[in-house]
Each structure stands twice: as C-alpha cells, then as structure tokens.
C-alpha cells in the first residue's frame, strides 16, 4: 500500500504552501512588556500568568542567542515579528456551521477532517484534533466524548481559564523558562497550544492530535503543549505542522512538556512538515523547539517518535528525564534534509532512577546541499543503578554535496550503568537502485522503497494514519534528489 501512496505523491512539490484568506487580528510588530501585556489581556489571563510571562521576558533579555548547534542562519530580528495573530472573527465556536468557511477549506486542503461524524464512520481509530492556526486554537473536536472519561483536551488558553490549578502545578515544571533562549522567549509570548490531562487509571480511547499551522505573514508561532498522564493513565498524542510558502523565514519556537505519573505511559508522535524553503534555500521556517518529558514516578514511560521533513533550520532535542525507578524513555527519529535545509536534532536521556531504560533510534537522511546532524546526550546520574541505554544513529547520504554529522555525548556517573552506541553512515547505493530498476521499479519509486526500508524501525512506531502520511512525506521530500 505504501508504494501506491508513494506513486501518487511523487513529483509533488510542497503541497501545503497555500495561504488561507482569513482576516486576522494582529498585534503590532515587535516585542516589549507592553506587547506581552497586550497578549495577556487579549487572552483574559489571570495575574499569575502575566507575572510568569514578564519574568520569562526579563530573563530572556539577559540571554544571548545560542550558537552551538551545527547550523547557520541569519539572526532572526525579534522586533520584526508579530507575536499575536488571531483569525477573525474570534468567537466561541459551538458547532461546525459557525466556523469560517475559509477555515474549513484550510482543513480540507490539509486533509484533516473536523467533521467528527466522518471520522466516526470511516477510520477505525478515531482522532480528536486540536487545530492551532497562527497563534490560537480554533477548534477542538471530540471534547465531549473525552470529557465523559474525565479527559481534558482543550486549547492551552482554555485550560488557563478552566483548569488553572493544573496549569499552575505543571506548567514550567519540566521546561522552566530559564532552560534556554527559545524556551524563555516562548514562556514570555506563547499565545496558545494544547493542553491534555488524562486522569488516574484512564486509557485514552482515541489518538489526540494537535495540528499546527502558521498562516499569516510576518508572524511567529509560539505554542505550548502540556500533557499530563496521571497514575496508570495512557495516551497517544500526535502533532502535525504545515505552513504556507513564503520568501521570508518565519520563526516557530514551541515548548512541549510531558509529565508521566506512576505506571503512566505517553506516546508523542510528530510529523513535522513546516515549509522548508525553496530549492535555492530561500524562505522556510526556523524551527527552534524545546520538548521534554519527565517520568516522574516509578514504572512510567515516555516515547517520542518524530518524522522531521520540513523547516529550513531545525533545532530540536525531545528529551526524557527518567526520575522514577524502572521508568522507560524512548526516542525514534527520522530527520530528512534536502536542498539547503539544516537540521540539528537528537535527544537527551537523563537517568536518575534505578533500573531506568532508554532507547534511541535515529535515522538521518541528507540530500542536496543539506546538513543533517544528530546530537544526543545520555547521562546516568550517581545512584541510578543498573541504568541501560541503547543508541543507534544511522546516516544515509544521497549525493555527495550533503553532510551528515553525529555528536553523541555520554556521561556515566554510576558504575553499574551500561550504554551501547552504534552508528553507521551509508550512501544510497547505485547498486541498490539498479537492482530495483532491473526488477521494473523506476528511480523515484526505488528511492521511496529504499528510504522507507531504512526508516522502518521508526515508521513502525507511528500510529497507522501517521505512518502513511510520513511515508508519503519522505518520498516527496526526497523527490529528484538522486539520478
């Protein structure tokens, strides 16, 4: 089936590059305490939230932009960004009929249905979607169904209003605003995002999904996601992202925090397809994201799976703090770069509890003139007895003008810890391609086949619907890169 889909998709350019003609209400360009107050007022936030933002902002002012990553790009002009953009009219959306028809068209073009009924009938596994356009969440589906189980799935803004105690308790507990430059920026100006709480003993009956889209010109997207799985809870969470094709670079600086309590499990899957810029490297999204989860208590598990095909520059290290004993952290990643894309991505696994386990499988694919780096840290703290890590970092090169780099850092403070690291670099072989052709399979299809085979261990971790989308994306991203 994968191949049929691949064949449909081959020869497509970035297909999500359309702009939706929706009136938006924007804040003036630039960043100041006034802008932050403006955002906070617009969102009708309580005092403690504004205080948090301002603290983060003042701290951010003291920071320098980080430069340690293996990427180079023009410094974003932080005064030339719109930090708040809301599709108008902004009112409570009770039913689908009230949604702006232009917005509905956007959904359709993106191939996501917000008509819950359709989902119910057609697809075997149901997905609840929170759709975030520019700065705000515009529609969350299946809320009522989920509420019956006590699951809270709503926009971050709504959570601040409706569940302030939960937000107060967990926000910033995994990624403090002092964490890094972009986390501080996000904490100051974030406008919306998704919030999810799975109560004790509940297995979330459907995939929860957030779809992020940057639409307006000149805007940055700074969303926050907070996922909490209480004791014995389980949730699988999906994140997708697209943006229009624009000549200028747009900034996306998100923060994602995950908390897993005792025996809880959270699976977080991302298919990142922000606009990568054109073939000459003009335009595209700067994707500077801080994602971290904490296995707070015993026997909990957090798994990150990501397929990264988009963005001009990616800087992202989904990490797990393994605090509870016997907790498990996983990172499965495919990162594709083509043309002039640059990616510096990987993970950090912090082993604090006893018998903690982590697995890292990273598959980098570079084509064109791109640069693709894996950067990972495995730290085993003193007292984290019998911690184990297995890391495998593979790089696949297509052509001879691209680069692949691996930066694994290992710190073992407890003698009982065992860390295994394997790394390979290979070139997509003329021999492999010829072998496929000799069996009647053309170049593009052969590349799709070989690349999907190479990424199989990671793609297998994705929920079904996402795996299909990811396979398509891989083929499209690498179109025309060999032969």
């Amino acid at each position: 089936m994968a191949n049929e889909i691949l064949s449909e998709q081959i020869n497509k350019d970035y297909e999500y590059g359309f702009v939706t003609d929706i009136e938006a209400e924007n804040a003036p360009k630039g960043l100041s305490e006034d802008i932050i107050r403006f955002i906070s007022t617009k969102k009708n936030e309580p005092e403690w939230m504004l205080d948090y933002r301002l603290k983060a902002y003042r701290y951010w002012l003291t920071l320098e932009e980080p430069h340690w990553a293996h990427v180079s790009y023009p410094k974003p002009d932080f005064q030339n960004i719109i930090y708040y953009s809301v599709p108008k009219p902004k009112k409570q959306l009770g039913s689908l009929d009230e949604v702006d028809p232009e917005l509905l068209k956007t959904f359709e073009k993106l191939g996501i249905s917000i008509e819950e009924q359709k989902r119910l009938s057609g697809v075997e596994s149901r997905i609840a979607v929170d759709f975030v356009m520019d700065s705000v969440s515009v529609k969350t589906t299946f809320k009522e169904t989920l509420a019956e189980k006590g699951i809270i799935f709503c926009s971050f803004g709504e959570a601040v209003q409706e569940h302030p105690d939960l937000v107060k308790k967990y926000m910033s507990s995994v990624v403090p605003y002092t964490d890094n430059f972009y986390a501080a920026l996000n904490s100051a100006v974030f406008t919306d995002g998704s919030f999810c709480y799975i109560p004790k003993g509940v297995r979330c009956p459907m995939e929860l999904s957030t779809y992020f889209r940057i639409n307006s010109a000149g805007t940055g997207q700074f969303e926050r996601t907070l996922i909490i799985a209480d004791e014995d809870a389980y949730v699988s969470y999906l994140e997708g992202c697209t943006a229009p094709m624009r000549d200028e670079n747009q900034l996306h600086a998100a923060v994602v925090e995950i908390v897993a309590h005792k025996n809880a499990e959270v699976k977080y899957s991302t298919v990142q397809n922000w606009y990568p810029g054109d073939k000459e490297g003009k335009g595209g999204i700067f994707n500077f994201v801080t994602k971290r989860g904490v296995c707070l208590e015993d026997n909990s598990k957090i798994s990150w799976t990501q397929v990264e095909t988009g963005s001009a520059v990616t800087w992202k290290y989904p990490s797990v703090i393994l605090k509870g004993d016997n907790s498990v952290g996983e990172f499965y990643s495919v990162a594709v770069t083509n043309n002039y894309q640059q990616a510096d991505t990987g993970t950090k696994m912090f082993h604090l509890g006893k018998n903690t386990r982590s697995t890292i499988i990273s598959k980098g694919i570079s084509a064109g003139f791109s640069n693709n780096s894996y950067r990972g840290l495995v730290r085993i703290a003193k007292g984290a007895t019998n911690a184990r890590n297995f890391s495998q970092c593979d790089s696949l090169l297509m052509g001879d003008k691209c680069g692949a780099h691996t930066f694994p850092y290992i710190e073992i403070k407890d003698k009982s810890g065992i860390v295994e690291h394997e790394a390979t670099t290979s070139k997509i072989g003329e021999d492999q391609l010829f072998y496929c052709k000799q069996r009647g399979i053309d170049n593009e299809k052969a590349i799709g086949l070989i690349v999907n085979g190479y990424c199989k261990e990671v793609l297998n971790k994705l929920p079904m619907e996402f795996a299909v989308e990811a396979q398509k994306l891989l083929a499209v991203s690498l179109e025309g890169s060999v032969g």
Partner: protein, 250 residues
C-alpha cells in the same frame, strides 16, 4: 527473441566487449562459458542497461525493440530478467513488498491494474514451493543477512515470480552446494516454456548437468570465440580453457 549484433562496450574508456554476436530464440537455453574476466558479467550488465557501460558499437534487438534505447526499468518490464552474480541487500524492504511493487510496476507498464492480493498470495505460495524457498525468507528484507546460497535461490524465486521472457543467470551456480544447485536448476527447468528463453552464464560445466543447454558459447576476451552443442561444455571441462586460448591465439 534476442539478437545481438557486433556489440562493443567499454567502461572508463576500456573496451571489454569487442564485437559480440548472439541469436537466442524463444524456447531455447543458451550457456555462456568462459574464464574469469572474459566479459560475461559485462554482457549481462549491458543487456540489463547498467549506465556505467558505454555501448560504442552494435545493436541489441529484443522482441523487435531496440533494447539499447530502453531504460533499465523498461527493459525489465519488457521481460528481461537478470539474476545477479552478487545480489544486493535492501534493508527494511521485505521480499514480498519488493516483489509486489515490481509486479505491479510491470503490470502498469502493460496497462494492467495492480494484481489482486489473493492472486499475488497464490503466486507467492506456488513459486515458493517451486524453488523450495523457506517461507520465512520471503518475508525477510531483500537479501539482508541471507547466506550466499539463499541469495542465489532468492534470485531464482524472484525470476519465478516475475515470469520474464528472457532470463539471464549470471553465475547463479557459484557458491551453491549440490542440493541448492539441484533446486535452482530444477526451478529453471520447470519455468522453461516455448515462449521464454534463458541465458545461463557459468564458469563450470557442473550446472549444465542439471540444466541442459541447446547451445553453448565460449566467451573469451570480449568475444564469442566458439559456439557448439551441449557437448562443447564437456570438452571444456575436460581440457580446461587453455585449449580455447591456444586456438584463439594461434
């Protein structure tokens, strides 16, 4: 079916094939023998359309079509199959998925709809039996971690699945023990029909105990220097290639 006339081919400016002439008719099995380095694999690569080789002179007509004008994949779709001397591994791509893709690509070329899943499965079962291929191998990644013999057997399995018109077996016998040899040869014999043809490239006469050729050619230094009936193979086995070399150089 296949007509090769005065074929010259070179790689990196070095001429390897120096005027090959060969006529193969439907229903025939031809054996091409010759010492190492004589150009046997080069001939099969040129037939399959490997781009590194430059054809400097001559023509290849396959079922009325100028083969040299077709891309490698179109040659395959027209029914040319090459069992590789050194089969390639494709990690993560299952044999089954690989073959399904290949079959449907070939069908699409002929304007046919993709094969029904149940028909595909039926063919898979049938051919697996034919070449006595372990069912587990069919589901494993293409050639990944296969032993030398398993790889060769997998080539014959693919051949059986794709049902080509012209199959070229490049030293499929090398590295096979006697049982595997018998199975591989049995597969080739069972697939023989009046509509298809096979070119068996081999170094040793051994394989020809099992696959009986209609014609035997000796390739030496880029040329076919001798053609004869199946007994020629026995003569070669007995006397070695030296007598050919002497004849040629005399």
């Amino acid at each position: 079916m296949l007509s090769i006339k005065n074929l010259h081919a070179s790689i990196d400016g070095k001429e390897i094939l120096k005027g090959i002439n060969l006529e193969v008719k439907a229903g025939e099995i031809h054996a091409i023998m010759g010492p190492n380095g004589s150009g046997k694999s080069t001939l099969s690569a040129v037939l399959a359309g490997r781009e590194e080789y430059e054809v400097t002179e001559g023509e290849i007509i396959f079922n009325g079509k100028n083969l040299l004008e077709l891309s490698p994949e179109d040659r395959a779709r027209e029914g040319v199959f090459l069992a590789f001397q050194y089969p390639i591994e494709i990690p993560g791509v299952s044999n089954v998925n690989f073959l399904k893709t290949a079959i449907n690509e070939i069908r699409a070329y002929k304007g046919l709809a993709p094969m029904e899943a149940k028909d595909f499965l039926a063919r898979l079962k049938e051919k697996q039996k034919l070449v006595e291929l372990d069912g587990k191998l069919a589901n494993r990644s293409v050639n990944e971690g296969f032993s030398g013999g398993e790889k060769k057997r997998n080539e014959i399995f693919q051949m059986a699945m794709l049902e080509p018109k012209l199959a070229i077996l490049d030293e499929t016998d090398s590295g096979l023990d006697i049982d595997a040899l018998r199975i591989v040869a049995g597969g080739v014999n069972k697939l023989k029909s009046k509509d298809n043809a096979t070119i068996v490239i081999t170094h040793y006469q051994r394989l020809l105990d099992y696959i009986v050729p209609d014609v035997v050619h000796v390739l030496y230094n880029g040329k076919i220097v001798k053609t004869g009936p199946k007994e020629l193979a026995l003569e070669l086995e007995e006397k070695g290639y030296d007598f050919i070399k002497e004849e040629v150089n005399a």
